[in-house]
Amino acid sequence: MRIGEILKILDELKAIFQNEKFPQFVSSIDILIEVMGQIVIEQLSYHVGMSYFFNIYELLEKGLDSFFKDKNSFDFFYNKIERLSLVLGIGTDVAKVIEEAPKEDEIIQEIPENIMEDISLLADFITEAGDNLDSAEAKILHLEKKPNNQEYLDAVFRIMHTLKGSSGFFNLSAMSKLAHNTEDILSQIRIKKLKISPEILEVVLKSIDTLRKLLSQLKDIMYNNPTKPIKIGIIYDLQERCIKGEIVSKETHKIGEILVATGQITQEQLEEALEQQQISKKNIDEEKTTKEQLLDVIKIPTHKLNQLIEFLDELVVSVSMKRFSQLDKITGKVHDWILSIKMFPINNVFSKLYRHIRDISSKCDKQINFIVEGGETLVDKTIIDGIYAPLMHLIRNAIDHGIENVEARKILNKNISGTIKVSASRLGDIVILQVSDDGKGLHREAIIAKAIEKEMLKETKKSFDQLSDQEVFEFIFKPGFSTAKGVTDISGRGVGMDVVKRDVEALRGKVIIESKKDKGTNFTIKLPLSTVEGLVVRIGASRFVIPILDINQIITPKKENLLDVCDEKESCFILAGEVIPIIPLYKFYQINPDVSDPTKAIIIVINFREKKFGLMVDEFLRRQQIVIRDLDIYFNKLPGISGMTILGDGRVGWIIDPSSLINLN
């Protein structure tokens, strides 16, 4: 069952108790809701949180049982529940704040009548407002670091002002009021009546969140999707107190708690948090769909569109004048241009990460300095959609297990605040993302020991020193490798790293780990863009494409360089003193080759981790820019193939994924 459903049931239970006027029961339910909320916002770990939930629920059940036998006997159980809630730090003043909230604190908006005819106007408004809120949020987060930056403050102020106006135009009173209040808070800061503090920024962020929820509710209504009321009274309240200068740090620390306690968490927020909780494929998929919905309309800079139209004009002219030689050039340009339109800066992901990291690090007792670089790097939309979860996972691991606590860092003579750096850059056709920390690093020996224990490595007499670091670290990506034991003792890493690898591989990417004990760990994720440079090769009648980046060199070995290994004739060859195994692709895919003699065939030498392998093919045809298409599910079990493309001559080219191919061999 989803946490959202549980919360719904609890809400119903609460309503029942409220009607029956049993205040003790009501507050027990509040505590249960709060525990759920703390699990969702990760103040409590899943296991501890659920244990509390179970036990409080049991106590409540027992209390109810005995209550019906003897009216007064509930107190005993209630005392226990209260004791547990005190341990969890659930304050009782939460309830008080809820009571103070205005009556109409929940709203379901209505699509104003005057707009019914032209619904597309509203759709545009929703998209635009959503984008503006995103950028406002990013700026607020910057403000937190540089509170004196007037420019950011002004920008957010303008956004709120616009939003107030445009939502007012659509008669969306709640949204307008929220934006108005936020504007007020900001203007108080501008005239220096309020001082920027994390508490006040928190209120602004919550306002932005609520505005976003209102937008998505509108969208649901537009598409006749089911929707839930959004609680906004409490936000008004917070805002008003903020404007009056009543927000002091002690109270605002509990905003999160208040929001959770009042059931303020919407489905999206829940899902987002859930996804962090247990990054499961399902949740990621759901997130993807919400994102895709939000991006129904893509904003394109006018100059790009104009350029595209110019190209198309040229195209028409050359066709009509039968200047076919130019066609190729122009279609090439059009192609590139369209690709550039569907690229987005990776900052879309980074700003989201930033927000979560801020939340997490405020909850743990470690000091973390989070640095982002290369946010302007343009990447495919598929990468934007798919990379958030694995990056988040890596960062969370770095915070949880990589960075030492303050005392440990002092002993090691490190700066007491740990640094986590996330950077993005482009290298030709690939995007390189790096997550590095200056924490304790991976423990090579411990990983080997663990791998032996898990029987992933056969224990032999020979030393394991021969294994390269990359080979050793690779183990943490194996499913089932990580255990909580691994978390504390071995490496401080490994929780669900297999999921990270799987997600990255779904984007056709690779993860590379570098780590030094006590110096830190660096994860490099290499992702291809949807167009890559590939080498088209032929085996019999089949065409394969090998990504250029994986290729080291192309060679036809001489007879004297061939080696027989393990009774297999000519299964390896020597290249510059290195023994390279030959993988005959025709055998692997059971194709009739034209050439089966290595000295006559072409060997494509590819790099795989720190080793080289030779793929044997009949001949290589050409280098080509290819657009990768995903394989249909009927083909998804094809070993060593990551996708396909349509080649210039209309044939299908199978795109080889060297890493999975080599793993299979």
Partner: protein, 123 residues
């Protein structure tokens, strides 16, 4: 007759939870933070039963259990090990280490009490 139960867990929140829930059932509960503390504790006071987490720094639950079960003075103490790890291997290892019962976190208090009663009655 009051039964004495020793809770061993490095996590304060969990200790507190178990204490409260066993308290409801009229058990006399003591708590310690680590395996070493537990061993020190049982030098002077023998509980009827020990409930211990497996994953703990320094000495894990398996080791604690082995030590208790190998000492003739303490081997009669029943041991329940619990962990958040869902792999069957942990359960096997727990029984290998001599544990009398094994639980996966999160578990409802009634489940723990049921196991405790079962073990203490069979004694």
């Amino acid at each position: 007759m009051k039964r004495y139960i020793l809770i061993v867990d490095d996590e304060m929140l969990y200790r507190e939870l178990l204490t409260v829930c066993l308290d409801v059932y009229n058990f006399e509960v003591r708590e310690v933070e680590s395996g070493k503390e537990a061993l020190n504790f049982i030098k002077t006071f023998l509980p009827d039963l020990i409930v211990s987490d497996i994953m703990m720094p320094d000495m894990d639950g398996f080791e604690l259990c082995k030590i208790i079960k190998s000492n003739p003075k303490t081997k009669h103490i029943k041991v329940i090990l619990f962990t958040a790890m869902l792999t069957a291997e942990y359960e096997e290892k727990a029984y290998e280490a001599g544990a009398d019962s094994f639980l996966n976190k999160p578990f409802p208090g009634s489940e723990l009490v049921y196991r405790i009663n079962e073990l203490l009655i069979s004694r």
